[in-house]
């Protein structure tokens, strides 16, 4: 019996199929290639993935939908952030992205109102954090359906800020 998991990896959607064999090893299929790994304890919070010719330490921390993954081998440490790709988020991603807060911060300006027609690239609102200002722009032309943030409000990373209905293709 195998299980399928879908991850968001940056802008990509990654599918993983995995099954545990009778001898305890895991068979993990990622986009056509297959890993056979034995999982060993490596102290609280860590596991060791043992493969045929090498092994790697892995440490995973959950933070909301995100999973922080660190791999450590003699070649060094690498960090990744994967996201449980829910239906909602994948749809948003497909719509062009750019409407979520790219960083946590304070909304300093809201430059559009609900009902406004906006052009692709038009500034929608501005966020400020740690001395940096970031302007959120429309990824495509469309109509503003909802604005989820007010001026002065603090927002977290990844929070949806503006709902934008795409203009009918011409």
């Amino acid at each position: 019996m195998s299980t399928r998991l879908v991850w968001r990896d940056g802008d990509r959607v990654r599918e993983v199929e995995l099954a545990r064999e009778a001898d305890g090893t895991w068979r993990v299929r990622v986009e056509g290639s297959e890993l056979v790994v034995r999982v060993e304890p490596a102290g609280r919070g860590r596991m060791r993935l043992v493969m045929d010719d090498r092994s790697v330490l892995a440490e995973i921390t959950a933070a909301g939908e995100r999973r922080f993954v660190q791999l450590v081998s003699p070649a060094g440490a690498t960090d990744f952030v994967l996201d449980r790709a829910t239906q909602r988020r994948r749809k948003q991603g497909a719509a062009g992205g750019g409407l979520e807060a790219p960083m946590p911060g304070v909304v300093t300006r809201v430059m559009v109102a609900v009902g406004d027609a906006v052009a692709a690239g038009q500034p929608l609102l501005a966020l400020e954090a740690m001395k940096m200002e970031h302007v959120v722009r429309a990824p495509h032309a469309g109509t503003v359906r909802a604005i989820a943030a007010r001026q002065g409000e603090m927002v977290q990373n990844g929070v949806a800020l503006v709902e934008l209905e795409p203009a009918p293709e011409t």
Binding site: M1, L18, G45, T61, R67, T78, L82, M103, M130
Partner: protein, 502 residues
């Protein structure tokens, strides 16, 4: 010595200052904003005073609240750390007006060095080499004065810092617009539209000299630091000594630094920043009138605790050591760990660092302000920690720093650790073959490609297996993190030890 010192700062530098106070037997007083109520710098201090709301303006930049906190807590001196009010002349004046010692230079010295154009003049007067430049009352006069310099030029704000308002101009056609734009930025950022121009030194390195003055015209130096590894004029890795400075050049640079420090009768610890050209000519850039972020590399190579030296000068108005006592041993390199997403334009990050682990290894020092479960507020500079490694030679120091970066873990908030790990392994960094623009010119594109590559199968496998083993429980995220727990798949479930699972 003071019996009690207020630390007018937060994060790693507040913790680091508190450590020296504890070793000296001096009571430490922390201050905190509403966002930092549970922060590590509050936990390590002997006393703590609330300042006000999270925004820096209302807390760590709030002079009146800080003076009140110092008075209320019985502090005899105020250490400003770096950033915030550390180079604010009004704050220094207010501290002294309240009858407290300011651990730093006089208000006049801060003011004089804070005006970059005036500082240039003082450096010139002290015989220091300065980059050929030009000034002018208005754009037209400036343009006329700049003509003999040739191109490329840099336009700078007189009161600027950190690269803000700086513009590089490659030919005559760009100059008008650059002067105009720089003046606008300067007016809005620093409240003064004054700008000046300097000749641009190509492929220059940033080398700075640490000095310590007694306020009466005596000063010593504590070697130089190499800080050329920068991104957007922000230092990323620093080292002591500079790998390109030999004894003769060191003597010339430290002499120049001391001439200026003595000329202004500098008090306390300060840093003279120089541009070092490929032909070993060097030019005064500016003076930082405070403790530098990168001071630990100097501490390791010289063996002196700079915070302790600052406090001793502030308490006694005398230099606690002679120049002859300063010797160089080995090599130290520092890497700054920030909450920023290097893969996405280095956007600053904030949130709860659910799990944090810093390395412990021989010849490695970590100055941190963050432990598992701590918050990284959105309001302040996102520095999390500094890793410092020492070795008898540069190669060994860099190897240890690389291992220390590999041994660090920050989960819950995205950090620049992947960027630092890649940087420490770059051949140019190993060879010390870089200048202040090398990262942006040659390193960043390759790193960005690497950072945006798909996660390897092993990472997806590890995350997926952890998910099936029970990590998916939502409470193991923020909730557990706030309670000081380090959420892990194995904590929740012993089932993975049973071969029959799934």
């Amino acid at each position: 010595m003071f019996r009690s010192v207020l630390i007018a700062n937060r994060g790693e530098i507040a913790c680091r200052i508190a450590a020296t106070l504890r070793a000296m037997g001096v009571r430490s007083v922390a201050v905190y904003s509403d966002a930092d109520r549970d922060a590590r710098h509050v936990r390590v201090a002997d006393a703590a005073v609330a300042l006000g709301p999270a925004e820096a303006r209302a807390s760590y930049l709030n002079v009146a609240a800080l003076i009140a906190a110092a008075r209320q807590s019985g502090a005899e001196a105020v250490h400003p750390g770096y950033g915030f009010l550390s180079e604010n002349a009004e704050f220094a004046a207010a501290v002294e007006a309240a009858g407290l010692a300011f651990v730093g230079p006089t208000a006049e010295q801060i003011r004089a060095m804070g005006d970059k154009r005036a500082a240039r003049e003082r450096a010139r007067a002290a015989g220091g080499p300065i980059v050929p430049g030009a000034e002018g009352a208005d754009a037209a006069a400036l343009e006329r004065a700049a003509r003999p310099l040739g191109f490329p030029l840099i336009v700078k704000a007189a009161l600027g810092g950190g690269g803000k308002g700086m513009r590089v101009v490659h030919d005559r056609a760009q100059l008008d617009e650059a002067l105009d734009s720089a003046a606008r930025v300067a007016a809005s950022a620093f409240g003064d539209a004054s700008v000046y121009v300097e000749r641009r030194i190509e492929r220059a390195r940033h080398v700075e000299v640490q000095v310590l003055g007694d306020g009466a015209g005596n000063a010593i130096h504590l070697l130089e630091r190499e800080c050329s590894l920068q991104r957007r004029h922000q230092k990323v890795m620093e080292e002591c000594p500079s790998p390109v400075v030999g004894p003769e050049l060191r003597a010339r640079m430290t002499d120049a630094a001391l001439a200026l420090a003595r000329a202004v009768r500098y008090r306390g610890a300060g840093t003279l920043e120089f541009l070092l050209a490929e032909d070993e000519s060097f030019y005064f850039l500016e003076m930082n009138t405070r403790l530098q972020v990168e001071h630990p590399v100097t501490e390791w190579v010289t063996g002196f605790d700079l915070v302790r030296l600052q406090l001793e000068v502030a308490a006694t108005a005398r230099l606690p050591l002679a120049q002859e006592a300063v010797a160089m041993r080995g090599h130290a390199i520092e890497a700054r760990v920030y909450a920023e997403d290097a893969a996405r334009a280095f956007l600053p990050q904030a949130g709860v660092a659910a799990r944090v682990r810093w390395p412990r290894a021989p010849f490695v020092r970590v100055d941190d302000g963050l432990m598992s479960g701590d918050a990284v507020p959105v309001h302040y500079d996102p520095i999390l920690a500094k890793l410092i490694a020492w070795g008898p030679n540069r190669g060994l120091a860099l190897a240890r720093l690389t291992a220390a970066l590999d041994g660090s873990l920050v989960h819950g908030v995205i950090s620049n650790l992947p960027f630092l790990r890649a940087l420490a392994r770059a051949p140019e960094v190993r060879r010390a073959a870089f200048d202040t623009e090398w990262i942006e010119r040659e390193f960043l594109a390759g790193f960005a490609a690497l950072a945006q590559a798909p996660a390897p199968e092993q990472a997806l496998a590890a995350a997926s297996i952890a998910e099936l083993l029970g990590l998916a429980r939502e409470e193991s995220g923020d909730g557990a993190a706030r309670a000081g727990a380090a959420p892990t798949p194995f904590d929740a479930l012993g089932a993975w030890r049973q071969p029959g699972l799934a």
